[in-house]
């Protein structure tokens, strides 16, 4: 009798439990077109992965939404249409996301790469500097001129971290390696990116890396017969001869997790900063242009990172002026990494200084 009662109770409780779970309707706000073959494309791959989950009813997106105050209108527009998980994928959406979230306390908002959290606004990002370090190792081994080039978007911590990790990775295998940086002041402008890459090629750089949304840098390097690293997603088709590999994003890992938590009602706004061990970031496949011994070296280092036995910002690290910023045996705390505003020794470039 007890068993039957329990079975009946379970039978009744089951649909109720299902009822407590919500269907996820997600909306993504993108800064570029989904066909940019870079940043937005990578996010859209993640969205598609999330859309496959059975409890995700809808996963829509709006592309090429300009950063700045007017993004609030688009974000509010999707919130009003009943989406319960809104993901804004560029730093410039920070204030508008926070502002709109105030009016929709029951909607979960996720903002990529920012620092403002609210009860229903979480931030998320990944430690792309880990694969950046690995790609730096490859560049340091492959270079002949010992001059590496880096086409960089904006002098903000996210980009600066990547450049420093790349330089440290290169120096870890080749102490003579230096990194020359050119700022483009744009995320997505293939013409500007390409001419920045060409200027680096003209000053002896024989391996180019980039922090941009398009693969224009790779095309410039390929044309000049030099090596290049991608970013965001694997980009072998843009440099059949000179492409080495790319630090890549697998946003799907994070988006699936967020959708699951919203579905189960366990989602809480936090400041998520996931590492290579979660899979959100990784080093994409290394091409035949990377020598086998280098591949082995990089693969071993990647394993150490995943195991947590190696930190990419381990002292001693000196800044451009030669001052020690991370003493021997110490690692840079996350807090410091998040607001990094200096280059390490061996990086040739400038960052505007802040008024004290």
């Amino acid at each position: 009798m007890k068993k039957i009662l329990a079975a009946v109770a379970a039978f009744i409780a089951l649909p109720m439990a299902i009822h407590a779970e919500v269907e996820v309707k997600a909306a993504f706000i993108y800064v570029g077109p989904v066909g940019d073959a870079g940043w937005t494309f990578a996010h859209d791959q993640g969205r598609k992965e999330m859309a496959k989950l059975p409890f995700v009813k809808d996963a829509t997106y709006i592309e090429s939404v300009p950063e700045g105050a007017d993004a609030a209108r688009v974000i509010r527009g999707v919130a009003q249409k009943g989406y319960n998980l809104i993901i804004t994928t560029s730093f410039g959406y920070m204030d508008p996301t926070v502002e709109v979230a105030k009016s929709f306390p029951k909607v979960a908002f996720l903002h990529c790469a920012g620092y403002k959290t609210k009860p229903n606004v979480g931030t998320y990002f990944g430690k792309i500097e880990q694969p950046r370090f690995l790609s730096g190792m490859i560049a340091g081994k492959v270079t002949k001129s010992n001059v590496l080039g880096y086409v960089a978007a904006f002098p903000i911590p996210e980009v600066i971290r990547g450049i420093n990790a790349f330089a440290l990775g290169a120096q870890s295998v080749n102490p003579k390696a230096v990194v020359k940086v050119v700022w483009t002041n744009t995320w997505f402008d293939p013409g500007v990116e390409r001419s920045a890459a060409e200027s680096l090629l003209s000053v002896d750089c024989d391996v180019l890396a980039m922090h941009q949304d398009s693969p224009a840098t790779l095309q410039a390097a390929e044309k000049a017969g030099k090596f290049a690293m991608g970013y965001n997603c694997d980009m072998p088709t843009f440099g059949p001869k000179g492409y080495l590999c790319a630090p890549v994003w697998n946003w799907g890992v994070y988006y699936a997790d967020a959708a699951k938590k919203v579905h189960e009602g366990t989602w809480k706004a936090g400041a998520d900063w996931w590492g290579i061990e979660t899979g959100i970031v990784d080093l994409g496949p290394m091409t035949a242009a990377v020598p086998d011994d280098v591949k082995a070296l990089v693969t071993a280092k990647r394993k150490e990172m995943i195991a947590g036995t190696f930190h990419h910002f381990t002292g001693p690290i000196k800044n451009q002026e030669g001052k020690v910023v991370v003493p021997e045996g110490k690692v840079l705390p996350d807090e410091e990494e998040l607001k990094m505003d200096y280059f390490v020794e061996g990086v040739k470039g400038t960052i505007a200084k802040m008024k004290e």
Partner: protein, 359 residues
């Protein structure tokens, strides 16, 4: 057969009103064809555009938020155009205004609530005014083309703002991201209910009214037009063209600068480098379509507000790509500007007598 194009001598008021409306309808028909090709029902799409921009309190407020900076910059450009001074540097003047207002809000040491907003406005007007007066002075003194100077100063102004927000003016608590600290509460214009509509909108309307009176009802406004239409006659009549060129450019820039003030103080509440999606450039079209009238600037700005906000409806509801929105907005502009041509010119088809063709 050939086309004969003549300048119209006079137009009736009805004709003046009907031509742009007809062109607007034509534009909507052409865009409808594109919508059909994109698999969207054009009637539903236009209804949604209307609802998004006008149909709700929030939509209407957003339309006015977009119209506000267009009114400020449109008035500035309109004033210069009246004297046939082609100021196309409203975007740069907007940025200089934003810079002046930000300096007062964050770095001047002013704390008084009563002084804060007025000082921000004054500083914005001074900086934006000087920015435009540079072109005015070069024009008056050395006959340098003001189109080129105002255009190029746009990029310099945007560059200065970029330099500051990436450098010395960066928020020390902002993790190094390129923007200044938030303004103190007394440097932020009040907003209404749960919308982004701010009191800068009323300021723009008051200014439009003042400018309407000055340009239409005063000797000063009359002189502007005389100098613009016939500088030599103006000189014989004893008007000082040089000083007026500089002064009008100053005023033009000062008005456009208030758009920058309104954006940082009313909408963004801090300075960053993407405070304007090109209001200052749209202002040139606004002033032109408004036929250089202050009242017209308000009406046309409101229309552009609808276009901006309505475009987002197409994006949100139908997931049309950004490039489609650009086509939509571009088509409207193209037809409206074409209508200007037909208002001012008469085009007739002249049938030539047939000449026999030798076999």
């Amino acid at each position: 057969m050939k086309l004969l194009i003549q300048k119209r001598q006079s137009q009736s008021a009805l004709f003046n009103l009907m031509t742009p409306l007809l062109c607007l309808v034509l534009a909507l028909i052409v865009v409808a064809l594109f919508l059909v090709m994109a698999g969207v029902n054009p009637f539903a799409a236009y209804r949604d555009v209307g609802i998004e921009a006008l149909g709700s309190a929030y939509g209407l407020s957003e339309t006015l938020v977009q119209a506000t900076p267009l009114i400020f910059t449109g008035l500035g450009v309109m004033l210069a155009f009246r004297m046939q001074l082609w100021n196309i540097g409203a975007e740069g003047q907007l940025y200089m205004g934003a810079l002046g207002a930000t300096w007062v809000a964050l770095f001047s040491g002013i704390t008084s609530t009563w002084l804060m907003i007025p000082m921000m406005m004054i500083m914005a007007m001074i900086l934006g005014g000087i920015w435009a007066a540079i072109a005015g002075a070069l024009k008056a003194r050395y006959r340098v083309n003001e189109v080129i100077i105002t255009l190029l100063l746009n990029y310099i102004a945007a560059g200065i703002v970029k330099y500051l927000v990436y450098g010395g003016w960066r928020d020390p608590k902002g993790y190094g991201f390129p923007q200044t600290a938030d303004f103190p509460p007394n440097a932020i214009l009040s907003t209404y209910f749960d919308t982004r509509l701010h009191s800068g909108f009323w300021i723009s309307l008051v200014l439009a009214a003042i400018l309407w009176v000055f340009t239409e009802k005063t000797v000063w406004g009359y002189e502007l037009r005389v100098i613009g239409n016939n500088p030599r006659a103006a000189q014989y009549a004893g008007m000082n063209i040089q000083s007026k060129t500089i002064f009008v450019m100053f005023l033009s820039g000062a008005l456009a600068a208030l758009a920058g003030f309104a954006q940082v103080s009313g909408v963004v509440t801090r300075l960053q480098d993407n405070i304007s999606p090109g209001y200052g450039f749209t202002a040139v079209i606004v002033a032109w379509l408004a036929r250089r009238s202050a009242a017209g600037v308000v009406i046309v700005s409101f229309f552009f507000g609808i276009v901006y906000v309505g475009g987002d409806a197409l994006k949100i509801t139908y997931k049309l790509p950004e490039s489609f929105i650009n086509v939509f907005q571009g088509m409207l502009l193209f037809f409206l500007l074409a209508s200007e041509y037909f208002v001012n010119h008469r085009i007739t088809l002249v049938r030539e007598p047939k000449t026999p063709v030798a076999v």
